[in-house]
Amino acid sequence: MSTITAELLESHRVTPDEYQHIQKILGREPNFTELGIFSVMWSEHCSYKSSRLHLKKLPTRSKLVLQGPGENAGVIDIGGGYAIAFKIESHNHPSFIEPFQGAATGVGGILRDIFTMGARPIAVMDALRFGALDDPAVGVRNRRIVEGVVSGISHYGNCFGVPTVGGECVFDPSYSGNPLVNVFALGVFKHDEVFYGRATGVGNPVIYAGAKTGRDGVHGATMASAEFTEESKQKRPNVQVGDPFLEKLLLEACLEAMKTGAIVGIQDMGAAGLTCSTCEMGSRAGTGIEIDLQYVPQRETSMTPYEIMLSESQERMLLVAEKGREHEVYAVFKKWGLDAVQIGVVTGDGILRVKDHGKVVAEIPNRELADEAPLYDRRHDRPAYRTVPLDGPEVPASKDLSKDLECLMTSGDLCSKRWIWEQYDHQVRTNTVQGPGADAAIVRIKETGTSVAMALDGNGRYCMLDPREGAKLMVAECCRNLSTVGALPVAATNNLNYGNPERPEIMKQLVEGIEGMGEACRFFETPITGGNVSLYNETLGEPIHPTPVIGVVGLMQTQQPTGALFRNPGRAVVLLGGVGMCEPRRFGGTQYAKVILKEVWGLPPALDMEYEKRVQTAIREVIGTGLAESAHDVSDGGLAAALAECSFGPSGVGARITLDSSLRPEYLLFHEGPSRIIVSTAEPEAVMQIAIRKGVEALMIGETRAGTLEISNRGVTLVMAGVTQLRTRWDEALPALLGVSA
């Protein structure tokens, strides 16, 4: 048994105070295995020790929420006796070290969170952030990371058989050393098919199912490595390796085994593997679990208890079955060719007792281990970290606004992401009513005859400029995306990606972000039912932009999607919400500032949540009554970019837009004020009527027409572009930036 030294604690990232607490809980010194167990359970990743205090500020309830945070995924009622489970999770760090497997196992992990609840996954979306592709120093590496991440997601999701229906992808130098891979998954089930990760029933068998345990990912949650020899290190890749085929079998076997009625509790082995699943299942049920590691299926020899308990090998599940009915569970797993063996039993003493060939190697009270992790009120008494000034340069008068628009539409953030999503199977399961490339994805639920819409949003640039307002804008935009396709936003999941919380100026970003998100989610009635926090996203002291990402789900009738694209010439173009306002400081966070002026400053756009809500109510009515031929919200790149996107349909229909505004042309075309939606319609009067009734400004700004996009203000032509030509440039920009074939 090793003695616990200061170096050992350091390498496990356990502080002296935390160690004292561990000794108090145990009433003695922990052994090496126990220290490992505490270190992963009390890691930032598993315990949320820096964020938990503030996460309490988020709204988590509504009439539709059946399960809020604390379980493997949130659950909401969608009517007709059915429910959906959904959550977002990050796999940022592994995706930087090994992009393909890092991203692949990110998909695998979140899928298990969904089907461990009993729900069949029916949709995945990804929020991705990468460093700049054209950076002379690290551009090559960044491009390789993009290719690896996209291949990894494609490999895992496609083989598993879940459609990747949407997402978003942004490039910024702040992500160069810390790419973000946030994966959202959603599944469907009946109300009475919900399973929880609870080890109830003293005497019930504890069953291990799925892949065998190896040494992969032992470092996953803590980076504990100091005590290992060089030789063992070489055998131990930091990043886990995923097998989507095995996961597909595990999915089918779990859902089938659940139907036997013999399973009383189930949890996947994700971060902190066997440790986390055993102590959390016991803690939630107020029971203890005793296991013997000799029964754990292993794919490597001579694994120590420490390694077995901390392994993050993929595609594994922990089940508790009703005593006497375990053979029913074994039969199902056998049918699917998977290991399922009893490794232990539920006890009544509240202790996680780990034996190895009968000898006790760890003995820790479950509840204290799972729930008494330290809670830190980290300092956040400094202004939030920002790298840019409040006041920027004088915005020069553009020499060629059409050229500016083309530059924007071919930039990394605004160009077509087709190269990415064509590598994802976005149609398998034949439910995808609206797939990638739209404001929000729509997936029909065959069982209920209704549909679920979903979107991901995040804007690190806005949040860097103002963490609180940026978070509110993000929620508003995500809800707007859903409303624009006709869905009522009802619930959300969040992924909080920030830098080092031990720095007060970063902690300030996190606190402000959570508070802003909480305020907006309360206002838009989209409670957060679960999510993930990823901190320490820093390289050499340089943090990522504070990047909260939100995934909102909405409910709607199943109908032909309206879509964002203009379909027919001669239709009226209505700008719901009006032209909006802008001032120099508010222009500093736009894509125009980033891409054209190559300088970011100031503040994000101003948001009036009351007005935003009215705009969203109006558009839902416009879509619901079938008045719109197309609808698309204005966001990154402003009005001109949104109009260009509306013109990129197969029909080649653009528009002739005539504005009457006192804003300078750069602001008018490219400011990113929220609460605006472009609608094309054959019945503009009816659309205007709805807007008036909802107290929303609506302007008839022009007419669709074949072939060109022309925008003028007060008689002066600002933009003139051929839509086919512009579309081709937009469509081919990403492969060109990546240096690959289209």
């Binding site: 490999h155 496609n158 598993f160 085929f245 095995l246 590598q423 994802y424 034949t430 029909r444 199943t558």
Partner: protein, 231 residues
Amino acid sequence: MKFGVVVFPGSNCDHDAWYAVSANLNQKADFIWHDSTSLGDVDAVILPGGFSYGDYLRCGAIAKFSPVMTAVKRFAHDGGLVIGICNGFQILVESGLLPGALVRNKGLKFLCKTVELAVAATNSPFTTQLRQGQVLRLPIAHGDGCYYADQETLEQLEAEDRVAFRYVQNPNGSLRNIAGVLSRERNVLGMMPHPERAADALMGSIDGLGILQSIVNTVSHLPLAEMTGLR
């Protein structure tokens, strides 16, 4: 009539195929587990898309050894209708029920998009509802869909009118734009595009229904032997 949809470990379009023929075409359909040695009383077999046995070794290479494939071969030999879609097509060529091979897409990437197919052979039980040259919009979703065969085989396929569909714009490098081929007896069809994904207007296209409906019409209205020219 009754369809049988074979389920291999790793099949993931099995339910989609089942749904298309049962919900969209209102026919009976059973799932057939991969270790089954009998197909039961089905009138036509669908080998669905997915990643059978993880597609380890080579797409479809392990599936050909599963017990159900012995039954499928017997069924096909007796003139039964078999359609292999995507991974099902790969299994059919691996099993020797169809000639050629499906290799990595020319672009080396998995590709999911809707493509246009031209109907190249109407003289088959799978294409009775289609017109020669008719253009269908069907989704593809594969990484290994590039059809390859030696020159002699290609000539033979052409001579015997066994190229069922050709891509209008070749997405994967398939020789002679081949998207689907028929067996010599014309009762086995393999195709990379997914007709079951284009069986509902909500999904953007119903062009796959013509293929599935052709099977129904063939089985329901015509004696098998007459249609396939066998026995």
